[in-house]
Subunit: 425 residues, 2 copies
Amino acid sequence: MSQKTKTAEILCVGTELLMGNTVNTNATAIARGLAEAGLNLYHQTVVGDNPQRLREAVELALSRADMVITTGGLGPTYDDLTKETIAGTLGRKLLPHEESQRWVEEYFRRVGRTPCPNNQKQAMMPEGAVVFQNHNGTAPGCAVTGTGRWEGKTAILLPGPPRECEPMFREQVLPYLRRDSGTRLVSRCLYFYGIGESDLAHRLDRLMRESKNPTVAPYCKPGEVMLRLTARVEEGEDPGPILDPVVEEIRREAGEWLYGVNVGNLQTALVHTLLAKGLTVATAESCTGGLVAQRITSVPGASSVFQWGVVTYSCETKRKLLGVSQKTLDSYGAVSPQTAMAMARRARVKSGADIGISVTGNAGPEPSEGKPVGLVYVGLDSENVTLAEELHIQTMEDGGREYIREMAASRALYLALKAAKQRVK
Amino acid sequence: MSQKTKTAEILCVGTELLMGNTVNTNATAIARGLAEAGLNLYHQTVVGDNPQRLREAVELALSRADMVITTGGLGPTYDDLTKETIAGTLGRKLLPHEESQRWVEEYFRRVGRTPCPNNQKQAMMPEGAVVFQNHNGTAPGCAVTGTGRWEGKTAILLPGPPRECEPMFREQVLPYLRRDSGTRLVSRCLYFYGIGESDLAHRLDRLMRESKNPTVAPYCKPGEVMLRLTARVEEGEDPGPILDPVVEEIRREAGEWLYGVNVGNLQTALVHTLLAKGLTVATAESCTGGLVAQRITSVPGASSVFQWGVVTYSCETKRKLLGVSQKTLDSYGAVSPQTAMAMARRARVKSGADIGISVTGNAGPEPSEGKPVGLVYVGLDSENVTLAEELHIQTMEDGGREYIREMAASRALYLALKAAKQRVK
């Protein structure tokens, strides 16, 4: 770590971003890459296609950071002004760039279109720039250093469309940035289910406050918390001695709720556990309407562990398609622990899978058959266990239906994961 | 419209946003809402959970604009500092807010958890603030005006999680902002399937360029385009005479691809059409793994039109659970138009529904049984039609699996919608 860690800023240019017509996924992708490359990042900004505000934003960014990475405004039309504005700010002339001219011509030949005169503008580059080829469009990117007041500062210009920007950043800009950094960041992600963020933060209070290397940061989604541990190490250094003791400490304090490390989410943890143990799962869903099956099958490789799922909304289909007995349905009702267990058992028996999971409940918007919105039973049937859990999922807004379904599906996936971990085949 | 148009800035606070762990959908939602409310927006900024940089960002925003809208940093933990920092910047004390205390207690009682001492902090509010209740979490939002140097400037603080932030913004902040504007905006959303954005924009070029009232703005999602027409009218004025002629013009130019007005999405259009006609639908899915069923059942009221769906990944389950003949599977393979049609037909016959839809194909990541990634067949079976469509869904990136599944599911929903519109029961 001989050199001082450099600081970058992200500046996204485009009226469509500013006005909310497009979600800013470029900023997300670039921010992740900068973290991996070990650069500091303290600000992201969005401005519209306005040269005056763009110039001010570039000057502000370069006054605070070593470099600014921009996206957008490299297109062929009159309101694409990023290159002209930044070259002007940094005191660099725009010159025709022969290689870029050839790329643009080649690109148009390949897609069978004719370049218009405006495309010439895209092959003009700031004097002395490192040029990045665009494999997915006509606008090359570039890195250009400043003169005068901005001596020693760098601007990196990338195109706006994510399918042009993200590959260019990953394949060309990241290697350019890593060339002289010397350190890197390594992350480990710990996934928790069944504990709230504030409770987890309370248990790990000292660690989260005081740990600097690795840093420990929580991220929430409904029903789950992820902790990201990030260590800064020298190029070639093993991050284990920095990360392992902290992971162990977290296991001691909150291991009960930890369901995996670097697993991504519940469905991926489930599919990978089933694959590792040679087990299979089947689903029978009522109020989640296919969501459990959809989440399992979103994981590549799911076809080896999941081959069978049914969506049975009515009592009739629970009986006919799944084989739940009329007696169970009559005695306890469709939304009951008995029906949830019967659905899970029938799914397992009928499919020949090792584990059957089921969901039945009321996701709203109205109470149904005397069952309140948010009352859900999740069932599990495995070789040596049959159980049902009663959930009361509380929500107050219109989007509550999707929330109830997501929470119920997560619980079903979690039960299946626990059962799969306990089983030996 | 006597008053000068006000300018707002968006300032999103959170290290997880800054580092790219979360996509900034809040900024998108708020930006759209501000545009609809007729406010100017020239800058969006993201900073981490750092009080010094947050303070600087607030001061910069308020020096350029009339108000700043922040998201994030209202949680219970030590690094949630937005309220404290902004109250300090604006010269406002934090005081206990009784109503918020009651909301927080009520929220915890409802979700069956115990508040920790940190939750007290969430019920502290800046002196004189307008408080926005949080229907989906524990952190209330607020609007607070400045004192001294920031006299006449406003900060609006919203929670970070999108399911808390977006409803609060839409239901409470937008009415707060509109309160003294005197005009209102009325939107009509037109939904298109099967036409690309650039093709639609080309057909409606003059209208999209020139129309000022209503404004016409396109929004894209995979396989679909939505046009939002927004008219500005005086309080009490009927927006019909402004909106209707433009809707008619769009119908003339692109009515072929228009599948609904204000319908929200394909699955909602389908469920509402089925409800209106007293029809039912059943699904049989392979590569979409329950996604079609899940999208249909996400619509409130779906239980009346959808009672039956299966996920059959393997040939064996297609045969046993659904009853597709061994001969069809042997002769044509699982990924074939014949199997897609047989799946749709069996789903309809077995369930007794009016319409059966099916999806079978390869969503990747690897070619399977000689079928390339992205080759999908969508089947439809109705009283007087059985058909299968072959899709080649192209994708270049790693996230391709989900994209292929979404595109295939959309096509199946679209076919069902077309069939439902044509049928009379």
